[in-house]
Structure formats: C-alpha cells, structure tokens
C-alpha cells in the first residue's frame, strides 16, 4: 500500500535570500509510523516541515507523498492528506469561534452542511473540547487552544499528521493529556520538538537534522540515549533519562555531575529570568499607573 508513504529524495532548498536550509535530505516514512524530528535551532526543522504540505517546494530533489509527487499543481491535493499543526495556535485559529475554525477545513473540502457538523463534533470530541464549540479563541487557555488547533486539522481526516513543537507553552497536565491523545492516534505522525521527553513517550523513530542534512535516523531508544550525538546537536539527554544519572551520582557520593557543559545555556537562562522579572514588574508597574 503506497498510500501513506512520505519519501524525501535528495531534497535541497534555498531561500530567496540565498540561505541553503536543506542540503540533500533523504528519508522514507511508512504508514502508521510516528517520527520525532529533532535538531538544533536553525538546523532546518521548520523548513523541512514547510515542505511537507507544499508551502515550500524543493529547489531540487523529489518529495513523494502518497502517490503524488509534490508540485505546484498537486499540493492542493496533498494538503488533503497531510495535516499540519503549527507552533503558534493563534496563527491556526483564525475564525471567530471554535466551531467555525474546525469547520473551516471541511467546508473548503466542499462537504455538505450535515457532514460538516458531524466532522466538527467528532473532531472536538476526540480532543475533548466539545463544550468549547461556541467560544471565541481568545477566551481559551493555551492548552485548550492547542487541542482545538489539532481538532481543526483532524476535521479534514488527513492520513499524515505533522506537528511543530506541540508541547511548548503547555502546563504539565495539558502536556500529559496531549501525549495520551497522540499516542492514541493511528495516523502517521511527524513531530518536531525540543521536548525530548515528549518524543521519547510518543514516537518510535527519530530523525536528527543538522545543517540541513539528516545525520541520524534510528529508533527513539537508540538515538535519545546517545548522549554524545545529542550534545553535538545542541541537545541533551531527555530529562527523564538524566535523572537516573543524577541519582546514580548522588548514590555514589553526593556530587552532582559537572554543570559546565550547561554554561553556554546559563547566559540565556539569566536573560530569560531577567525578562520574566521585568514582565512581572511590568504588571505591577501597570497597576501602579
């Protein structure tokens, strides 16, 4: 069955300003697989995802999705098979109510009114948001927005689900809920994320992208336990795996592992904390005015 295969063959992509974002990407994904896509910032993750439903077309090389080769003409049809959930749900929920957002896709597919209603209800039911039907998106919490964004894509009943940083900005409960939800989906899943624990739980296979090329392709247990590979890519072991290291170390005599490898991150963390502090002060400042 060739229906749900994604095939990238030597794909190159260059942006109009000259940046070479993809330099010969090749891989094959078969029906029902769930793939994690990891890599440093700027490695080409987003560009790769933008190719998946034809928003960007390869400068050279081939992309086959289902039986179709991705071209300008076929991308409309490919979009019926590939559903993309974006990083920022505010970009994805652009209609005035949840109902209309979820109905957007089915209506564009030309479905009848009754079928649209059915699709909307079942999609919202699946993500557990049926009671949010009449709400405007700006009345939803982060987790609810994400769930609804997924529903908007599910409503088109795609074969392949592509998600960009699905767990960012989620509170632990919503994140846990999302994990369970995705594990229950039978679709082919491609999830790009920095949340390695999330990928560990939800995916079976992992692709590591670096400088526009796939540098590793293996099972999640192989790749996400390979500390040196991860660190080469500005990543680190999933936290759930790190804890065992810490516990081992403390059992051995109390010393925590050397944090110097985190040093380059510590500066970012400091500024991050400073911004957070100023935002809190901003709140206070605002009310004082």
């Amino acid at each position: 069955m060739t229906h749900h295969i994604i095939d990238f063959k030597d794909v190159f992509f260059r942006y109009p300003d000259g940046t070479e974002a993809l330099k010969g990407v090749s891989f094959r994904i078969t029906h029902g697989e769930s793939i994690g896509l990891v890599g440093a910032n700027g490695a080409g993750k987003s560009t790769l995802l933008l190719q998946m439903n034809g928003y960007l077309l390869p400068s050279s090389g081939f992309i086959n999705i289902g039986d179709l080769e991705l071209t300008k003409k076929t991308r409309q049809d490919i979009r019926k098979k590939v559903g993309v959930v974006f990083q920022n749900p505010d970009d994805q929920l652009f209609m005035p109510t949840v109902y209309e957002d979820v109905a957007f896709g089915p209506l564009n597919l030309g479905m009848s009114a009754e079928r649209v209603i059915d699709r909307v209800n079942s999609s919202l039911q699946t993500v557990g948001c049926l009671d949010l039907r009449e709400k405007p998106p700006h009345h939803l919490s982060g987790g609810q927005k994400r769930a609804v964004a997924i529903a908007t894509v599910l409503a088109m009943e795609p074969d392949i689900l592509v998600m960009d940083e699905p767990s960012s900005d989620l509170d632990p409960k919503s994140r846990r809920y999302l994990m369970r939800l995705l594990k229950g989906f039978k679709h082919t899943k491609i999830i790009a994320s920095h949340d390695l624990d999330f990928i560990l739980e939800v995916c079976e296979r992992c692709l590591v992208i670096k400088d526009g090329r796939i540098v590793a392709d293996g099972t999640v247990s192989d790749i996400l336990t390979n500390q040196s590979l991860l660190e080469e890519n500005n990543l680190e072991l999933p936290l759930s795996l790190q804890k065992t290291h810490i516990m081992d170390a403390s059992a051995k005599g109390g010393l925590l592992p050397d944090p110097s490898h985190l040093h380059s991150d510590s500066i970012n963390r400091e500024t991050g904390m400073a911004t957070a502090a100023s935002e809190t002060c901003g709140v206070m400042e605002g009310t004082l005015k």
Partner: protein
C-alpha cells in the same frame, strides 16, 4: 486612556457579550435593527425637545435589567466619550440666548434647552450602542450584517480584525510595558521610540499574516471564506421587533410625559 485599561475594558465588554440571558438569546439581526431604529428615532427629535425623550429611557432600563449588564460600567464609558459632544454642545447656551421658558421663576434660554436635549440624546444613543455590543457577540453582529446584505469581503475583514485585535493588543502591551519600564518621566516616550515600536509591531504583524495565510492554505483555503449557515430567527424575534417598533412609534408620536403630567396636575 491608559493602554492597560482600554484592553481590560475591551475584554469586559467582549465577555459580557457571550452571556446567556433572554436578551442575549435574541437573534443578532433583531437587536441590530432595533438599535438602529431606536437611535434614528431618538435623533429625529428637534433640537429643543426634552420631555419627549424621557420615555425612551425605558429601552435601556429594560435591556440593562433583562440582560444583566452592569450599569455603572456602561455609564462610566458613556461619560468618558462625552467630551466632543459636550464641547460642541456647550456653545449652544452661548449662542442661543433668547429666553424660551420660565422654570419656576428662572428664565431658561433656548441654548440651555437644546444643550440639555443634546445631552439626553447623547446618553440614549451611546447607551444603546454599548448595550448592543454587551448583549450580542461581535461575530453575531457580523453575521447579522452579512444576512442583511453587507458585502462578504467586509464581513471577513470585520471577523479577522476582531479575532486578531486581542492577539495584537497583547503583543503591543508587552512592547509598551517594556518601553515604559525603561523610560523615566517623559524621556523615552517620545516620537522616535514610538515610531520604532510601531515599525517593529508592523513587521511582526506582517510575519503573522504570513503564518496565518499558511495555516489557511493548509486547510484548503482557495480564496473565499465559507460561512456556516445557521438560521436562527424565531417567533420571539418577530415579537420583539414588532413591540419595539410599536413602542418607538408611540413614544415618538405622542407626548406621554405631558399626558401623565397633566393628569397628575389635575389630581393635585
């Protein structure tokens, strides 16, 4: 007004509009038409009219109570926007000084009468606009306008605008707070920083538009937005509209106030 406060106020009205009372459940078309009819009727009174306007307070009174709308909140908003009308209206007593009536011994000039008339009209018309938006969700109003014949491109525009106002206000809020935190007194609040702020905000806006467009394409968008057709005119709506029409006509045509007043006079 303070950016924070404006954002907050916007949110309060928006939240109010999604309540579930008798008034809220009426079809949006009913409320839009009734509001317009109300405003036109009120504004049709000539410039010296005062008593004839009084019965019209019945409408806001009923809607405030049936619709569970906080009165003082709306009143404050009306007061805030009264500047222009008051500013122009206050010239009336200055220019129109002929004595019109004898108010318990004090001569009242026409100018004051017409000024007071303006104030009454102002209060009634502003209240009705705010009550419309507090009892009808904005998307509801947009769909009503669409069904009443406004072009779809304009309706899509209204809906998108509404959707993204909250997103953009939050983004702007963050930038404004950051600016205000780093400025002292009036320094830092000047024009060039303002222009930088706007420029950055604009670029972010364009990038966002790009992403939204992508999201739309990904879900099959091909040029037109298909609206979900949900017809919801009920008997209650027709009843409401007819009652409103009749009452408006009666109030406009007959001097109820003087009628009541004269009966009362006769009794005492």
């Amino acid at each position: 007004m303070d950016f924070d406060k404006e954002y907050f106020n916007l949110g309060v009205l928006d939240t109010l509009s999604y309540k579930n009372t008798l008034i809220h459940r009426l079809d949006a078309r009913t409320k839009v038409i009734a509001t317009f009819a109300f405003i036109v009727t009120v504004v049709s009174f000539p410039k010296y009219e005062i008593a004839g306007l009084i019965p019209f307070f019945l409408f806001p009174a009923v809607i405030f109570s049936l619709g569970d709308i906080p009165f003082w909140f709306i009143l404050k908003k009306v007061l805030v926007v009264s500047v222009f009308a008051v500013f122009i209206g206050i010239f009336n007593p200055l220019f129109d000084t002929h004595v019109m009536y004898d108010f318990l011994g004090i001569p009242v000039s026409g100018g004051w009468v017409s000024f007071f008339s303006i104030l009454l009209k102002f209060f009634l018309t502003m209240c009705s606009a705010l009550l419309l938006i507090s009892t009808t969700s904005f998307p509801g109003i947009c769909h009503a306008l669409r069904k009443l014949g406004i072009p779809e491109i304009f309706i899509s525009q209204l809906l998108f605008l509404y959707r993204y106002i909250f997103v953009l206000m939050e983004e702007t809020l963050r930038m404004v707070r950051a600016r205000d935190l780093r400025s002292f007194g009036k320094r830092g609040q000047g024009m060039s920083i303002f222009i930088n702020l706007l420029g950055t905000l604009f670029i972010k806006t364009i990038e966002r538009a790009e992403r939204i467009y992508h999201a739309m394409l990904s879900r099959g968008f091909s040029g037109t937005i298909h609206f979900v057709k949900r017809d919801s005119l009920r008997k209650g709506d027709f009843l409401c509209l007819s009652i409103t029409g009749v009452v408006l006509y009666i109030f406009r045509t007959y001097g109820i106030v003087s009628l009541i007043g004269k009966q009362a006079e006769r009794m005492f």
